[in-house]
């Protein structure tokens, strides 16, 4: 399965290999139109000179070293002549036809046994001779850690030599300065990351590694003739610590626990080697190098193996990103060691360039982790915000429910109080009136009727008070229970069905009472004008989404029904509910239809009319 991620990893692996091989294959071109000197007489101290081929390496600790070369000039040159040495790792002293020359490139920024640098010196016209010219190149006596190296020499004019010389300067000096600057900058970032988040093991190992790396680099390469020669000793002694730090870093990247002895090695080995050298147990710097450098190499190798294991077995993206620079670091170390000790041909030491690559990879890992953390943070925030909104909504609805409940309780209490008062007072008296008038026969029939109507209306009001939303059907059922004895008394049959009534919302005691009053009036009218023997009441949903309640009677349709006062009153009440009243005459009887919206409007002054 080919995914963009896989392609990315493939490209990274290819690029790494290309860089690794490129170091080996890379050779700078030689200057053309110049006299090439590839043979010299080599003399160490007072020993006899011997002919050697250039480039030439030699491990020498016994006195000054001289290379004697010569070249022939057919005629005095038209332009100034220069000596160009592409690569040398010692300070030079030059004698040209018996006259000393001053090497003004001696003050290069970087020098030292592991640093190659180019030299280009003007051969003064005054000293030039037609025919054979002699040049003696002397290497200062030095306590060396690496063999001396002298490349081929070139004699030519500035035009022929300068481009090559500049290129060498760029590679050997400028790029190394830039690499160091990049190292400093990235180290600063990593150290800051550690300071801001010291509890993260990755950050602490990274910070320790970059700081130690910086010390080693400066110790190795700074040789500004400032009397810091001894600094290099400590840099060499510190080098094994770097290797162990790499191992710790490899563990930290994979979130594995670090072995306890690692810290002891990091601190112990450099101190032991420095002390060993100081006390004479390690006799020379050369021995120190041969002890500490293999430790660095071996530790780096182990670290690379751990990262490689993480990249393959654990499929850790961080380990995959870091495997490339670890591999290049190791390879450059091996390469530089081989070149430096003469086991491998090559003029370029690559170790310096591996560090920015390594640090860039570290930055990539850190940035990736940062991005992932921010992503997680975003998701956590979204999650929290969503939950907060949910809880707020829940709280709001609870609040709403509580308020509704409180209002209902108040209403309930009020209703109870009112009911108790009415029960004990008016309604009791009305029942007494009914009882008394009933006994006296038809004489007080009108009073009895009035008292009954008053009582019925009182009940209508009281029962409406207890209604909740969506309880219109309950209100109608209450109404029916009041209606049955009324109609029974008159011998009128009631056919009632509101089973098809859709649910009505927005029901309040006020608007329910209004509906009941309309129905009461419709029935009263039907009984008065009918005279009906049967009343049919139906609840159903109307075509336009409204709710329709019909009151049908089988009495003779009265003449004044269409525009009577009662109908106007009903229409007025219906209008309060955004409803309508329609009245139609049937073959035998009449039908009144009340239509109201399925969501009733709220109003306060029901029953005002």
């Amino acid at each position: 399965m080919i995914t963009p991620a896989r392609i990315g990893w493939f490209i990274l692996a290819l690029a790494t290999l290309a860089v690794a091989i490129g170091v080996e294959l890379f050779h700078l071109p030689e200057p053309r139109d110049a006299i090439v000197i590839d043979r010299a007489d080599y003399q160490v101290g007072s020993r006899p000179a011997q002919p050697v081929a250039l480039p030439h390496r030699h491990m020498s600790q016994a006195g000054a070293t001289h290379y004697s070369v010569h070249f022939d000039l057919a005629a005095p040159p038209a332009q100034p002549l220069f000596l160009y040495v592409p690569s040398v790792n010692r300070r030079l002293s030059l004698t040209f036809n018996g006259e000393p020359l001053f090497d003004n490139s001696d003050f290069a920024l970087w020098s030292g046994p592991l640093v190659r640098r180019p030299v280009m010196i003007n051969l003064p016209a005054a000293f030039l001779k037609t025919g054979r010219n002699d040049l003696i190149i002397g290497f200062a006596t030095d306590q060396v850690e690496a063999p001396s190296y002298l490349s081929k020499l070139f004699i030519g004019n500035e035009t022929a030599l300068a481009p090559n010389f500049r290129l060498r300067i760029l590679l050997e000096e400028r790029l190394k300065t830039m690499a160091l600057a990049a190292h400093l900058l990235l180290s600063l970032g990593i150290v800051l990351a550690y300071l801001f988040r010291p509890k993260d093991p990755l950050f602490s190992w990274l910070a320790a590694a970059v700081v130690a790396g910086m010390a080693v680099s400066i110790g190795f390469f700074t040789d500004l003739q400032l009397g810091l020669d001894n600094a290099r000793l400590y840099a060499i002694a510190l080098a094994p610590a770097m290797g162990f730090l790499f191992i710790g870093l490899a563990f930290a990247i994979l979130d594995l626990p670090r072995p306890r002895f690692l810290c002891a090695l990091i601190i112990g080995v450099p101190i032991a080697s420095a002390l060993g050298y100081a006390t004479g147990i390690i006799p020379t710097r050369m021995v120190l190098v041969w002890i500490d450098m293999p430790i660095l190499l071996a530790a780096t190798f182990v670290a690379t193996l751990i990262v490689g294991w993480g990249a393959v077995r654990r499929a850790s993206s961080d380990a995959r990103i870091l495997l490339a620079p670890f591999f290049l670091l190791l390879w450059f170390m091996v390469h530089d060691t081989a070149v430096g000790t003469g086991y491998l041909e090559g003029s370029l030491l690559a170790g310096t360039y591996s560090r920015p690559i390594f640090l860039a990879a570290l930055m990539a890992v850190l940035m990736r982790r940062l991005a992932l953390s921010l992503d997680r943070l975003d998701r956590a925030n979204e999650n929290l915000n969503r939950r907060l909104a949910e809880q707020e909504a829940e709280l709001a609805s609870l609040h709403q429910a509580e308020r509704a409940e409180a209002a209902r309780l108040v209403r309930e209490q009020e209703r109870q109080r009112l009911t108790r008062d009415l029960h004990d007072g008016i309604s009791g008296h009305l029942v007494s009136i009914i009882a008394m008038t009933e006994r006296s026969g038809d004489e007080h029939k009108a009073v009895e009727e009035a008292a009954r109507r008053a009582l019925d209306d009182l009940r209508l009001v009281i029962y409406s008070l207890d209604l909740g939303d969506r309880e219109l059907s309950l209100a109608l059922a209450n109404f029916r229970e009041r209606l049955i004895p009324q109609l029974q008394r008159l011998g009128v049959e009631l056919d009632w069905s509101i089973a098809d009534l859709p649910e009505v919302s927005g029901v309040t005691p006020s608007n329910a009472l209004t509906i009941l009053r309309i129905l009461q009036e419709a029935i009263t009218n039907a009984l008065k004008h009918g005279p009906a023997r049967k009343i049919v009441i139906r609840g159903r949903s109307a075509d336009d989404g409204q709710v329709a309640i019909t009151v049908e009677n089988d009495g003779h349709a009265q003449k004044a029904a269409g525009n009577g006062f009662g109908l106007d009153n009903m229409r007025h009440r219906a209008a309060q509910l955004n409803g309508t009243i329609s009245f139609e005459r049937l073959d035998c009887g009449a039908r009144l239809t009340l239509r109201v919206p399925s969501r009733l409007p709220n109003f306060q002054d029901a029953g005002a009319t």
């Binding site: 109870q416 009911t419 009415l422 029960h423 004990d424 309604s427 009791g428 009305l430 029942v431 007494s432 009914i434 009882a435 008394m436 009933e438 006994r439 009954r452 009582l455 009940r459 009281i462 029962y463 207890d466 059907s473 309950l474 109608l476 059922a477 209450n478 029916r480 229970e481 004895p485 029974q488 008394r489 009632w496 069905s497 509101i498 089973a499 009534l501």
Partner: protein, 238 residues
């Protein structure tokens, strides 16, 4: 068990020989109303008015001194509450029936009376024929119910549709059958007995019989003080 059975004026399903009259004690403090009720009961051949009392004390004496088949009592009395009269009745005659008369069939006081042992209720201003119907129905094992009372009972039993899952901790209508719950729900929703009978595929006449069973169970539930308290709380919460 009732000792006597009565035949109502319009009940067609009980065609037995005329049984001895039902002995009735009436308790009502308002004189005109008491007299009206007494007259209506007196006119009814199926009943025998043992005593018409104006106070709880008179009622207590009447229950003590007479054999009573039916107590018809007002709730608010000058020296007490009708519920006390119902308790006295059942203490002495466990099988006697009790009926509440009220100006308003206010669900709260009526349910209180039902819990005390009443299985019927009447509006004081009901027509004579309706009063007699209510008495005969009650004696025949049928109880009335209004949608408001049904709603109150349903709420107290958990306030949910029987089909819905009831959360734990809520008062469970353990003793009510699904059929009884269906009937309560239907009435609370405003269905008539006929509609209910059609929907539940039962006879219209059996609906009040189920209602009476429900009342008996509420009364039985009420005997347990814990359940009573729970239902009280339920009442307050709803």
């Amino acid at each position: 068990m009732r000792k006597r059975r009565v035949q109502s004026a319009d009940t067609t399903d009980e065609k037995s020989a005329i049984p001895p009259a039902c002995r009735i004690v009436l308790v009502e403090d308002d004189a005109p109303v008491r007299e009206r009720m007494a007259r209506i009961i007196g006119d009814w051949p199926g009943g025998q008015l043992v005593a018409a009392c104006a106070t709880l004390a008179e009622a207590a004496a009447a229950i003590r001194d007479n054999t009573v088949d039916l107590l018809i009592t007002d709730l608010k009395l000058p020296d007490g509450h009708g519920v006390q009269a119902i308790r006295m009745l059942h203490a002495r005659y466990p099988n006697a029936e009790a009926m509440v008369i009220s100006v308003l069939t206010d669900d709260r006081s009526v349910i209180e009376a039902i819990e005390a042992g009443a299985s019927g209720y009447l509006l004081k201003d009901s027509d004579p024929i309706n009063i007699i119907d209510a008495i005969t129905d009650l004696l025949a094992g049928r109880s009335p119910i209004s949608s408001t009372i049904a709603r109150t009972i349903v709420r107290r039993l958990g306030g949910r549709d029987p089909a819905a899952q009831r959360p734990e901790g809520e008062l469970a209508p353990d003793e009510l059958t699904p059929r009884e719950m269906d009937i309560l729900w239907g009435i609370a929703k405003g269905f008539t007995y006929s509609e209910l009978a059609e929907r539940l595929n039962i006879s219209k006449q059996t609906v009040p019989v189920h209602i009476k069973h429900v009342y008996r169970k509420l009364q039985a539930n009420n005997r347990s003080e814990a359940v009573f308290e729970a239902s009280r709380r339920g009442l307050i919460r709803l």
